[in-house]
Structure formats: structure tokens, C-alpha cells
Symmetry: C2
Subunit: 162 residues, 2 copies
Amino acid sequence: MLKLTKRTEYGLIALTHLAQRQGEVVPAREIGDHYPIPRRLLAEVLKDLCNADLVASTRGAHGGYALVRPAQELSLGEIVSALEGAPTVSSCGDENLLHGENSCDVQPICPIRSPLVKIKDKIWQMMLTTSLASLAEPHKPYRSLASQTQANGLVKSSIKSP
Amino acid sequence: MLKLTKRTEYGLIALTHLAQRQGEVVPAREIGDHYPIPRRLLAEVLKDLCNADLVASTRGAHGGYALVRPAQELSLGEIVSALEGAPTVSSCGDENLLHGENSCDVQPICPIRSPLVKIKDKIWQMMLTTSLASLAEPHKPYRSLASQTQANGLVKSSIKSP
DNA sequence: AATTATCGGCACTACTTGAGTGCGGATTGA
DNA sequence: TCAATCCGCACTCAAGTAGTGCCGATAATT
């Protein structure tokens, strides 16, 4: 439903925490102590971040995790990719496109494929150009899009209640 | 997993089709004939679009659906809202926020709430400022974000395979 | 050498959501 | 009357998400 998973949420919490102690090795236990996150799941998430080379792990006593790069050089896109795969918008926008521009199951007359790809690209662009640091800083403006007025008169009572 | 549903995909197909015959009443059957979409599902989607007042329905023989507004004044955000609810990014970004800024289940010490809201807002802003018409037009540029370079050196081999 | 704290990997259950379908009823034009 | 259309309810099936359990491997401390 166009939402990030809990894994990503927990990952962002963990990475933000690691960013505050940049370079230091922090055990997962410490992160788990600070936030109401299931410890076991947090460990799972950190493992994935480690496999994606976003954090480095040290084993044994006094072990833990540390950011590999400073938060300014960590993009939201990388984090999301590591924890739930690159964002796709629908069937058409899947990794099919990454491997040769066809194999869409709605192939011959799909007037929507291009639009879906556009949407996916927009979201993806945003994520690649958004750093972890900019998300963590509370007062950073992000109004680059708010000035656009392509379509207007929107957002009436059309919000569907869950 | 941060993707739009099939419902939205089918909805965009239908709306694009209706846009091409702007004002005319088009039966769902005609749309179903043109694209490989399960007819029954398409009807479901059109019903939702009708309930959201994005299309108008005419019953009886020679009935069908028609766009209520021109495609230039239909935002992607409205369509997504009608078909799968307003986009949320995670538990924190839910409709809780719409009703008074608290009741987040990770309340007191959640350094990630603000970031998640930022992400949601960015996506939502993009959708509200993107019209159906701009998605349907094949050659429309949408590079307003591509020039940004907050974070760089990204998208290495960190794309997780499904 | 034993202990303890940490990460690593496998596999499993329960729950939620999404995709798709069936059926009969109501409305309207021919 | 008949046929084409929209309308509404409810249901199954598959896939993804959240969360947990267990035990082994590693390394510092004692």
C-alpha cells in the first residue's frame, strides 16, 4: 500500500542512532534498550544492513555495529534497497525493466507502463538524493517540491478511510 | 514494500482510457476489451473511483463511466487516495497524524518519526503535484528532482535481489 | 580454560494484505 | 420483455510482513 515496512523503520532508527556515535562500535543491545523495538527483529535488520555494507559488524564481546560511511553520504535509497529491495511501483515497474526493457506481462498495449515507470523514477530519485543526515536533522527544509502547481484544487474529501 | 497496488495500476489504465474520450460515457466492458485486465476487478476499481467522485457512472443499457474533470486537473494523489488510501510510510506516518499529531506507538523517544513523516510528505507532495495528464503524455519531462545532489556516490551493488 | 557477551544463520508460526472470483439484484434503453 | 449495464456483498487463495526460537561462532574477560 505504498508504505515502508517496519524493517525500514527500525533500520532508520538504528542508523540514526549509529550516526550519533559515528565511527564507534555500538552493540545492538544498546539500540534495543533505547527504543521499543523487538530486539530479535532489530538484530535481523542490522544483519541485512551489514550484508548490504551499510554498517560493519564486530563479533565477540565488546562487538557491535558501526556506520561505514558518514550519514551525509548514506542515501535513503540505499537503506530502503538493503531492507526491502529497490522500490517498484507495480508489476510493470519491476526489475524486469532493469534487465532489458520488456517482459512486462501487460505488454503490447499497456498505456500505463510508462506512467508507472515515471512514478517509480520520481520516488526513487527522491530517495537517492535524500541522505540519512538530512532526514535526521530536524530543521532542514525540504520544500523543493511544494512550490510546484501542476495540478490544483485537490485533496478534497477523497481520502479513503481505512 | 513501497509499491502501488494492481488496483491503482488498473485505475490508471482506466482513467487514461477515459481521458482519451473526455466527457463521453464509456462502458467498463470497452476498457476491459482493450487491456488484459480481469474484467471483474476492473469493475471493482471503477466503482471505487466512482465513490471517490473521480468518475461519474451512468446505469442501464448504454451506461458506463466518464471522467468528471479533465485529466489536467486530476492528481495522482487523488487517484491513489481513492484506490488504496493516502500513502503512509510506516506506522508512525499513519492517519494518527491527521488527527492530532500524537498517538504514535513509539512515542516518547522516536527519533525516526519526523524522518518518516518527511519521506511521506515528499512522496505525497509529488503525487499531489502530478496530474493524470502529465503521466499520460509520453514526452513530458519530469527532471525537477534529477538535478539535486544532496547525497552522491550511491546505487552501487546494494540492490537486493528479490 | 571457563565464562560471558556479542554477532550469525536457519526455520518456523501467525497475521495482514492483495489479487481475483461468484452471484444475484437494480436500473435503463431497445 | 429482453439485454446491457452498473451495484453490492462475501468469499477463496496466494504472498508478504511481523515477530520468535534456537543454537553455533567469535572474541574479550576472568
